[in-house]
């Protein structure tokens, strides 16, 4: 009997290839997005880890920003452990101004510490070559440089010329990738170019327990010995929220895919009721039929997931670029040379795909066996049951929605739970769909009938009549669209908020920084002479002086900071979310206080009055939080500290950028041009007017959200497939109905109209549900998810365009999906349609 059953099953599936293909494709797309996003972000993370690891070498500990004499003392102590001095800076290389990390090394020490970067050993040739530098072979090729060729390098605001004295090859992929980000110089030349004479950016050490104690005992009290991985760890933790959000978006695509499977399986169950009714009378048990449906779902899930894994790997190739660009823009520099394909991720996505498919098939499978053998033959029974079920589903939905709302209201809910609640909300609303569809169908019958006559009324009522099909189609479409609309609104709100914030924050007329292509670069500095000249230019009446850097708190956390001298004109540029304005500014002028950005406050739970303890070269220093201010420049968060305090405790006088205020009557654009013209030969700086900087910032913003847009499109695509699938099912089932209509005199054109009208209405209903749901999603994304993930409070703004788009896409998708079934239905001779039963 089993073989008969499975043969029947195969025969059925073979006769409905389109249905089957769509279901498989739906699962495949969902799984593909999951695999693609996960693989892309893991590749980026892995690339970062590997290159950090390669650069770290054997180092276990690190000393930062120390006097070179301390290194000599440590290195020459009896039985000293392996250690290496480094001088580093971010630079731009070649006429292309490629951003690289300048690394001044002592080749001899490197051999002890980073033997796997054998390339660094070539640095020994650099010690003897005057102005010699080394690049990775790949970087040299990219810049079109050959051995012996001279090239430009911009260090801080100074242009210099170096000669390519050596080409470096990594021993393995990770080393090559790490080397690819470096411009290697002899440490003496590096000190000279960066102006860090007598100082070392870093001393890397390889310590075991015994040598750790010995080194500690040799260190002056104020010098901190930190774990070599502390900065890497701090950086990596910044991207966690970003990765979770990407993951959530990819799960959404899978959710839509699962709807598709549900749809297909329900359809196949309905189609075979007659067959199974007959088989049941022949003695096939319920269990056998239940198992059969599950096995079919398993097969669809497995095929789709396998296909999805393959597609996902292809997709990852494209996504990884978008993901790395965002990471580079917002978090840290990383180059991904190859995808890191993790079997665990593939297995997980596969399991989710298969599991989702089987889960989706449980309800139809239960359907298949719950009815009596003879009743199973009746299609009407099913629809009746659905209509009866609709209110119950609604109640379940309401429960889910309430649960989700509960999580949203809980302020301390973790990000993952909040995202889960968002899914719950979507599923909950999906359960409302059958009832809403019934109402809509009844409500629409009259108005549609007005302009489309009987056909119109039939179309509208038909939606309710085949609720088991249409309900699912509408739900799938509505969910995908609302998610997409929600993301659209969120991005638009974000952009509007940032635009507003930029124009209120950027108060100076001209901004000057050392040339850098990355907004996160904190190492570059302006030459003191340049700062002096620009701030004293005749048309400049005031200046903000910034020194961007990373500081460590006493718990080894690296935090971004800006030591700043605020011009009075800029005081109202900061919007305080907590802290009293006048008092805060007064304290900033006199005491050791900090202003903390909103995301940092959220991430570290720092509030006004709290103390932030920072590790300075002269020992730990406590800074009181005087205010929390609104900031959208980085979700990593940062804080302002008075430059006066920074100079005092850190002994660093350098400036990384300037905000200059123009004499009244002089406009920013012309002041920028004037200052640019005043740069001496060899001096390099970005001199930008406020408007230009604003525009550049928004460009970075837009780049950041490219991934989101891609995912929106993919989710939309899956939804489109869902509608297509549901309609195919629907129309196929109604062949007989159409046959009757044709026999009663309805022309093929009329059939087409009826089908398209119905699908159009379907789209309209889905769109109508998607609009408020989309708004709700947007609200959750901006008010709940963004705050919990990034610590940003965004002002919601509703671009009408997004909603018009959503509605249009919804109807258009439904219509497009209706074309094929409409044509098919119209072509079928009535006699055959009638015979089909």
């Amino acid at each position: 009997m089993t073989s008969l059953l499975s043969r029947a099953s195969l025969r059925y599936l073979a006769r409905h290839p389109a249905q089957l293909a769509l279901a498989i494709l739906g699962v495949a797309l969902g799984v593909a997005v999951l695999v693609g996003i996960d693989t892309a972000s893991i590749s980026a993370r892995r690339a970062f880890e590997l290159s950090s690891q390669a650069l770290r070498g054997a180092a276990t500990h690190v000393l930062r920003d120390v006097d070179e004499r301390l290194y000599v003392e440590l290195a020459c102590a009896p039985g000293a452990p392996p250690m290496a001095p480094l001088v580093s800076a971010s630079v731009l290389v070649g006429s292309q101004r490629k951003p690289l990390e300048l690394l001044g090394v002592d080749g001899f020490a490197e051999a002890r510490l980073r033997p796997q970067l054998s390339g660094l050993r070539a640095a020994n040739t650099l010690a003897s070559a005057e102005r010699g530098a080394a690049l990775a072979a790949s970087t040299a090729r990219e810049l079109g440089l050959e051995l012996g060729q001279r090239f430009e390098v911009v260090v801080g605001s100074q242009l210099s010329t170096l000669e390519l004295a050596a080409v470096l090859e990594g021993d393995d992929a990770a080393s090559s990738a790490a080397l690819g980000e470096l411009l290697v110089l002899d440490i003496a030349l590096a000190q000279e170019l960066t102006g860090k004479l007598g100082r070392l950016s870093r001393v890397d050490l390889v310590l075991d327990e015994r040598s750790l104690e010995r080194v500690r005992s040799l260190l002056p009290a104020e010098v901190r010995l930190e774990s070599a991985q502390s900065r890497e760890q701090s950086r990596k933790s910044l991207t966690r929220a970003f990765e979770i959000n990407l993951r959530a978006m990819s799960l959404l695509a899978l959710l839509v895919g699962v709807f598709l499977v549900y749809n297909t399986m329900t359809f196949s169950v309905v189609q075979r009721r007659a067959l199974w009714g007959a088989l049941r009378t022949l003695g096939v048990t319920r269990g056998e039929i239940f198992r059969l449906v599950c096995v079919e779902a398993l097969a669809v899930g497995a095929l789709g997931s396998a296909l999805g894994v393959g597609l996902g790997l292809l997709l990852a190739r494209e996504l990884v670029e978008l993901v790395t660009r965002t990471i580079n823009d917002l978090y840290f520099a990383v180059q991904v040379r190859e995808l890191s394909v993790q079997p665990a991720i593939l297995v997980q996505a596969f399991a989710l795909g298969v599991g989702g498919a089987v889960l989706a098939a449980l309800a139809p499978a239960r359907d298949a066996l719950s009815s009596a053998p003879r009743a199973a033959l009746s299609r009407a029974t099913l629809e009746q049951r659905w209509s009866a079920l609709a209110p119950r589903l609604c109640a379940w939905g309401a429960l889910l929605v309430l649960a989700a709302l509960g999580v949203f209201a809980w302020k301390g809910a973790p990000l993952v739970l909040s995202l889960g609640a968002l899914f719950t909300l979507l599923v909950g609303v999906a359960l409302f769909v059958p009832l809403l569809t019934l109402w809509a169908s009844a409500a629409l019958a009259a108005p549609v009938g007005l302009f489309a006559g009987n056909l119109g009324r039939m179309a509208a009522r038909g939606i309710a009549a085949s609720l088991s099909r249409t309900g699912v189609a509408i739900a799938a479409l509505a969910i995908a669209l609302s998610a997409s609309a929600g993301m659209g609104v969120m991005v638009a709100s974000f952009r509007a908020t940032v635009t507003r914030w930029l124009s209120s924050t950027l108060r100076a007329d001209v901004y000057v920084s050392a040339p850098t292509l990355s907004s996160i670069n904190v190492e570059t500095q302006l030459a003191p002479a340049l700062v002096e000249r620009l701030t004293r230019a005749p048309n400049v009446v005031g200046a903000n002086l910034y020194r961007a850097l990373e500081l460590q708190d006493t718990r080894e956390q690296w935090l971004r900071a800006v030591a700043i001298d605020f011009d009075e004109r800029a005081h109202d540029a900061l919007e305080f979310l907590a802290g009293e304005r006048t008092a805060a500014w007064e304290q900033f002028e006199r005491r050791d206080v900090v202003f903390v950005s909103e995301p940092l406050a959220a991430r570290t739970a720092l509030g006004v009055g709290d103390s932030l303890e920072l590790a300075s070269p002269s020992g730990p220093r406590a800074f009181e939080v005087a205010a929390v201010f609104r900031d959208y420049s980085t979700d990593a968060g940062f804080f302002f500290l008075p430059r006066r305090s920074y100079r005092e405790h850190w002994g660093d006088d350098s400036i990384s950028s300037l905000g200059l205020f123009a004499r009244p009557g002089v406009d920013g654009e012309s002041l920028a041009a004037e200052l640019r013209a005043s740069l001496a030969p060899g001096e390099q700086a970005f001199v930008r007017s406020r408007a230009t900087l604003e525009q550049a910032s928004l460009e970075v913003f837009d780049q950041t959200f490219e991934v989101t847009h891609v995912l929106r499109w993919i989710a939309g695509g899956v939804a489109f497939l869902g509608v297509l699938c549901a309609l195919l099912a629907l129309e196929l089932e109604r062949e007989r109905e159409f046959g009757v209509l044709r026999a009663l005199g309805l022309a093929p054109r009329g059939v087409k109209q009826l089908v398209l009208l119905q699908t159009g209405l379907l789209g309209l209903v889905a769109g109508a549900i998607a609009l408020p749901l989309g708004l709700a999603v947007a609200l959750v994304l901006t008010r709940v998810i963004n705050e919990r993930a990034f610590g940003w409070s965004l002002e919601l703004s509703f671009p009408p365009r997004v909603f018009a788009e959503t509605l249009a896409i919804s109807v258009l998708a439904a219509l497009l999906a209706g074309i094929a079934p409409a044509l098919r239905m119209a072509r079928i001779p009535p006699a055959r349609a009638l015979r089909s039963d």
């Binding site: 039985g79 001899f108 051999a111 054998s118 010690a127 005057e130 003496a188 030349l189 000279e192």
Partner: protein, 377 residues
């Protein structure tokens, strides 16, 4: 005759090019000797052309006008238990350019310093060897005369007095291996070659200044894997400086520093040519019981290879036992390595090890110790 000028220059040239290329590829020893040594030096470096007036302690100190120099200690030591050790601690300097580079950074350096440290544990048949490179900057490595004579490479150092009866300290530690010796010379410096001018080729300036302290009393401790062993014995100090290139036909050398008990010491130096023959500039020094030196010409001694040993790591075949004859002194010795494997696999590969010296000199039995160096194999 020059003994270690080629190896030192080669080592340093390699140092600059291939610092510590240890793990995978074989050290490019043979390449370096012929290639690196043929690099012409800056014309402004002084060269050893004619005998000079040595003046001590001044000449123990650095000779920056010459491109290359080294301070070379080897010692044969014994513990109270009878355990035997050999050890080597060597400091090399090579200028990579004549003038200091024009940089305001203190890291910029004209000289590269290399050091080798090795301990032969005869009882266990083991050699432990280490190597170090540093730039001659920021006190990381260097050589000074004031306030006292000192050469160092981070915490490896030799310092104190090289005068007869004076005391000097050798100190080196790397991981679980350490050496701390106090040395005292029993002789005045012995000038090798022609009053200290050691010729190594026919070309003008192809020579070095070369003297030795062949009879140093040594006592101190060796640390090996947590064991601290009191030792005493004899050490040998070689000191040489030059600015010279190796002749294209010269491929390597064998050097012998042999103790003869009451009879004194014998240093022999045999330079090998590409065709396998001994170079005419090979020579030796006979040091009598009173510490007086007599140069030996190529024709006055013979070295016969009795056995060979092939290194399992490098597959290089080294001579491993010799018969040494100096007929005029009624000297016939058999020289045998105390451990077969005393190959140093460092930036440059060579064999340097403690040997047993057995035979007769002037009719008296000799059973002593010495050191042999085999380079360019």
């Amino acid at each position: 005759m020059t003994r270690r000028s080629p190896i030192a220059a080669a080592l340093l040239a390699c140092a600059i090019l291939w610092s510590c290329e240890r793990e995978n590829s074989l050290p490019p020893a043979s390449i370096s000797v012929s290639e690196a040594m043929s690099a012409p030096a800056d014309e402004r470096f002084e060269r050893a052309r004619e005998p000079r007036e040595f003046e001590f302690p001044r000449d123990h100190g650095p000779q920056p006008a010459f491109q290359t120099e080294w301070w070379y200690f080897t010692a044969n030591l014994r513990a109270a238990s009878g355990e035997e050790f050999g050890c080597q601690l060597t400091f090399f300097r090579r200028a990579t350019r004549f003038e200091p580079p024009p940089s305001p950074s203190k890291w910029s350096a004209r000289d590269v310093y290399m050091a080798h440290f090795a301990v032969s544990d005869v009882a266990r048949g083991e050699l432990r060897e280490f190597e170090r490179f540093e730039r001659g900057a920021l006190e990381l490595a260097g050589a000074t005369l004031e306030p006292q004579w000192r050469v160092w490479n981070r915490d490896w150092s030799a310092s104190g007095s090289l005068e007869r009866g004076g005391e000097l300290r050798l100190e080196a530690r790397e991981g679980e291996v350490a050496l701390a010796l106090t040395l005292s010379s029993l002789t005045a410096p012995v000038l090798n070659g022609e009053r200290g001018l050691s010729r190594k080729g026919a070309a003008d300036g192809a020579a070095s200044y070369y003297y030795s302290l062949p009879r140093l009393e040594a006592r101190g401790t060796i640390e090996l894997d947590g064991r601290s062993i009191e030792v005493s014995g004899r050490a040998w100090f070689d000191r040489e400086w030059s600015t010279s290139a190796l002749d294209a036909e010269q491929v390597g050398w064998d050097w012998f520093a042999l103790r003869l008990g009451a009879a004194g010491e014998l240093m022999l130096y045999s330079m090998r040519r590409r065709d396998g023959q001994s170079d005419e500039h090979s020579s030796g020094t006979w040091i009598d019981a009173r510490g007086q030196a007599q140069p030996l010409a190529r024709s006055e001694f013979s070295i016969e290879v009795l056995d060979t040993w092939t290194s399992p790591r490098s597959a290089v075949r080294y001579p491993a036992r010799w018969r040494v004859r100096v007929p005029a002194r009624e000297l016939e010795l058999e020289v045998t390595p105390l451990i077969a494997d005393q190959e140093l696999n460092l930036s440059v590969r060579y064999w340097e090890g403690a040997v047993r010296v057995q035979g007769s000199v002037g009719g008296r039995r000799v059973d002593e110790r010495g050191y042999v160096e085999l380079a360019g194999y």
